[in-house]
């Protein structure tokens, strides 16, 4: 599928905002996979879950995580596909002993 992009360097002509907004956009699409993002801001502290990103592939997800969660200087930032996690406990999970 062709994804047009017009990026001529015009500065004097007014931008056609309507056209830009309705044009098919490029970059990552919303069909991507979910990734969980973890980080630690100190080597001695445990990893914390800080959010999720959605991306078409792992490379895009890494970059999204880096640019979206840049509010602190992390010593470590990790991502993992959401569907790679296994349930240990969750509400209505049958056969699990000790659920609160």
């Amino acid at each position: 599928m062709r994804r047009p992009m017009a990026t001529e360097f015009r500065s004097n002509k007014p931008k056609k905002i309507d056209k830009i907004m309705t044009e098919k956009k490029t970059g990552s699409t919303s069909k991507g996979e979910n990734y969980e993002v973890f980080a630690r801001d100190n080597p001695e502290r445990p990893l914390q879950h800080i959010g999720t990103v959605q991306a078409e592939n792992k490379e895009l997800a890494i970059a999204h995580a880096r640019f979206v969660y840049s509010e602190r200087i992390w010593v470590e930032l990790l991502i993992a596909p959401t569907n790679s996690f296994s349930n240990c406990m969750k509400p209505q999970l049958q056969g699990v002993v000790g659920m609160a």
Partner: protein, 284 residues
């Protein structure tokens, strides 16, 4: 080689990096509206911010170390004095063309930055190392974009590579002598940088399926200005220059007052140094 001559070569070479990052930052700024999700917008804006921040840091350092007025390098040069990579002169014609071009530009910058990271100049090696680290995320993001191209876009990417690769390769043209290598400001030769860049090109060709591509070398100029790393006498296209440094009346009115003007006509390579004792010292 005397100190002044080395300083001038450092100025010229650092401007090649700074000006290329300057234009690349504007390329990223232009495509922010192509994002489809909030992380997309954030990432593109972040990449633009990184590139323009690196430009600002290099220009600031060069102005301080060469005794130039503040903002001289940004607002006090004509478009034929800009050292940006010729690869970025022509606007992208499609998404695939954009992705291929920024891949080449980012990898070329990374190869060049790497040659300074172990150099004798503490300031230059420190900021080059930092820029290379931050550029890692740009490169991985662009590789993600390439991996997400569909078959039709990959064909466009091959055509783009044919048209643009030679312009990127030309950036690594080796001059008769390399004063910065002799003075150990850089520890890797331009030829070595070129070999590393070819390795990156190899990765790109395998990603888009263009192993046997025949590169168009018709746009490659034979007369080469090794100071600006551009063809002799060439200048940034007027429309790109207007985008990077708007000169319309409205833009001028909105601009903060500056102590310098292009009309000052300062000769960058022949400036009497006045050391400012109050300025921050980069080497510490």
């Amino acid at each position: 080689m005397n100190q002044t001559s080395t300083d001038q070569t450092v100025l010229a070479e650092m401007l090649c990096l700074a000006d290329t990052k300057w234009v690349l930052g504007h390329w990223y700024a232009k495509i922010i509206l192509n994002g489809r999700t909030v992380p997309d917008f954030s990432s593109m804006a972040g990449m633009a911010q990184d590139e323009l921040g690196h430009t600002r840091a290099i220009m600031n350092y060069l102005e301080q170390s060469n005794g130039l007025p503040e903002h001289q390098l940004e607002f006090g040069r004509r478009m034929d004095q800009i050292h940006n990579m010729q690869l970025l002169d022509q606007a992208p014609t499609s998404w695939a063309d954009f992705v291929v071009t920024v891949y080449l530009a980012e990898h070329a910058l990374w190869c060049m930055l790497e040659s300074y990271t172990q150099g004798a100049s503490v300031a230059v090696s420190n900021f080059c190392r930092k820029f290379a680290e931050e550029g890692y995320f740009h490169r991985i993001y662009i590789e993600g974009w390439i991996a997400a191209l569909d078959e039709e876009e990959k064909l466009e990417a091959v055509e783009s590579l044919k048209a643009r690769l030679d312009l990127a390769r030309q950036w690594f043209s080796t001059p008769d002598s390399e004063p910065l290598l002799e003075s150990e400001v850089r520890t890797l030769s331009l030829a070595h940088c070129g070999v590393t860049f070819e390795h990156s090109v190899g990765q790109l060709t395998s990603l888009i399926g263009a192993e046997n591509v025949v590169v168009d070398s018709s746009r490659t100029d034979t007369s080469w200005d090794s100071v600006r790393r551009r063809p002799e006498g060439s200048s940034m296209p007027a429309r790109l220059w207007e985008y990077v440094v708007p000169t319309s009346e409205a833009a001028k009115m909105a601009r903060r007052p500056l102590a310098v003007s292009i009309e000052d006509n300062i000769d960058l390579f022949n400036v009497k140094k006045v050391k400012d004792e109050t300025a921050p010292f980069f080497d510490q």
